[in-house]
Amino acid sequence: MFNVEKNGYQKQVMEIYEFINDHLYFNRPDIEIKGEQFNSAILLSLLTGLEKGKELIIGEPGLGKTTSAEFVCSLIYQFPLGLIWGSEVSGHPEQTEEKIIGRPDLGKLNRGEEDVVWTNFSQIPVKIVDEINRLPETKQSMILDGVDRGNWEYLNEMIINDEYCLFATANYQDGGTNTIIAPLVDRFDVMAESRYPGAHLAFLIGKAKRKDHILRHPKSERDLYRVLKSKIGYEKKIPKLEEICNAFGEYVYEALGIKPLRRQDRDQIRSEMESLEMDLDASAYTRMLLTEFSFCERYGQKRVVENCEEGCHYTGYLCHEIKNCASNRLPTSIRQYAQGLAWLLGDSEIDMEHVQSILPYTLAHRVQWKDEILSQRERAKRDDPFPIFLAKEAVRTISQRFREQSEHLKDALAIGSRIFQGERLEPLEGDHPVYVEIRKDIHARRP
């Protein structure tokens, strides 16, 4: 199935992908990258696990949002499923900080001492929040704050996770859901949909026995629980946890022929990913995209409280169709996931195709489209959920524009660089807001 030449780790990760795809999470491929087909939910979950990212998984109830994340985490982090289930936070309005982060040690409290019993959720690197939009916004914020920094605080005590990833699932809006407010949504790197697999695969799922038992291991689960609830310091727990996880990894390898990733494997993979840079096309293309999602000629930048003026010269660009401004988290997410994808495919640089493939999933949840755009397009024939569909259309539009003027844009950027180096040149003009942004940078910083 996969033809690209990869080193050992890429092969190992791809085997994990195939194992999940073939045995645990049946679904159709819905994304093609460089001639290879993937299921976006598994692929993005794998990259989230590897890249220490944050993924929002949406979909109808019962279509495998949580289970896909659980399987991926089990094989990427070598945790048996039983422990992952016992560490998940489920979203409901009564959820408390004590159940999410930690609670006072009641025995010690009786003796007049303060100590914290940390939850499994705050201690292990795999953080799964089921139905995050059923949590009140304050609790959503608490989790996302913790995951943003890797710090979990309670009663003036703190533990620091140096490795973690977040998977949050969300059902579509119904009577019991809260909204995930825009600043919180923005913290997710990607959004994917766990889709209906089609009637025939669904029929097979119904026919087959439950497959999750193959990633269960009661002894490891008990051992891990014991370490997690022990009173030793968090830093001392980590090597003990790793030891048990490695033993579970050995078991999985012997029983299933799949080699989960050890801590040193994950570290090595991350350092390989971080060494990958964007080629010039991918860089120029991403700059063009970021411009369209942030530019406003009239008011200097997009702001959600300000509307476009009638008759603006840049009416044909995406800035005219959206309400909000792209945050600084967007380029980070794009780079991070495109890096992961390029690494997985064995490429030496991040190119346009990596970026284009990842973009819709990094944009879909972040962009606030104007109401007229939503009403114009909501009935369009499509295969994706509406936000991902709109993001894919936007990416297609910008790709078309980039194809028409990629050389000119790279020239403009090269000239910009030379002006910064002190040459007396004039910045290039062009029919896209990106040229205005180049000029602004030059004028702002030129002595």
Partner: protein, 256 residues
């Protein structure tokens, strides 16, 4: 050794005049070598190349007017048309243009000061020559916004070509048709399809008098009303899917 923040160098290693390190946001493009000596905005290049083609087309039309219509009176006689067409062919053959340029020329005829006058006859002959020598097999001209109806559109349209006119056409539409397909998404005036040898003319709305005069072959389909047929030699005329020529009785130039 401490380095104060204000003395820190940016990635380029340059300090600006204020002594503040300026991060070069375009650093990665510093080694990108651009190929062109002078730079044009892509849109400018497109506009420029379109203007060159339009100048050539305009020049051909002016030459045709000089040679054929100096007196501003242009008699529609078959010999005159053939002669004008030969002149038009001579200029058109040398131009590299597209179907879009033909449409632009039609609008330029009305809207620009650069073209001295629009004479529906020569203009139609010239546009027909442009259509007949165009690279595209199918040409669509959106002429519904034109104030003047252009005569002689579709003159000698050859086999394999399809010309669609959005809007109304003037007199002598599709005359001498040579196997092509001419569609008028509106009305056509008198003498439509006169002398046509083969092919198909489709008029969506109404058609005028002398339809198919001296027609030697082919078919004319009219979606609306036919005001009058000409002396047809060979061929078929349909009015609202009903065959009106050859019919049981031949009514030359009679009003229906």
């Amino acid at each position: 050794m401490r380095t104060s923040l204000s003395q820190k160098k940016g990635p380029t290693g340059r300090l600006n005049a204020r002594g503040r390190g300026a991060t070069n946001p375009f650093e990665e493009f510093k080694s990108f070598t651009y190929a062109k000596a002078d730079f044009h905005i892509p849109l400018d290049q497109i506009v420029q190349s379109t203007e060159v083609v339009m100048d050539q087309i305009r020049h051909g039309y002016e030459k045709l007017l000089e040679e054929e219509a100096k007196e501003l009176v242009w008699m529609v006689q078959y010999n005159t048309i053939i002669k004008a067409y030969e002149v038009a062919e001579k200029y058109v053959r040398e131009i590299d243009y597209s179907a879009e340029d033909i449409e632009d020329f039609c609008f330029a005829l009305e809207n620009t000061q650069k073209i001295p006058y629009l004479i529906p006859g020569p203009a139609g002959v010239y546009i027909s020559a442009l259509c007949n020598y165009a690279k595209e097999e199918e040409i669509s001209l959106k002429l519904s916004e034109l104030k003047t109806e252009i005569n002689l559109i579709g003159f000698r349209l050859p086999k394999g070509k399809r010309l669609v006119i959005e809007g109304d056409a003037g007199d002598f539409t599709g005359i001498g048709l040579e196997g092509g397909e001419l569609v008028v998404e509106g009305n056509a005036k008198n003498w439509t399809g006169a002398g046509m040898r083969g092919g198909k003319i489709l008029i969506r709305k109404n058609i005028g008098l002398h339809t198919g005069e001296w027609m030697m072959g082919g078919e004319i389909y009219v979606g609306g009303r036919v005001r009058g047929l000409g002396n047809i030699v060979e061929g078929k005329v349909f009015e609202r899917d009903k065959l009106v020529y050859p019919g049981k009785i031949h009514h030359p130039n009679l009003y229906y």
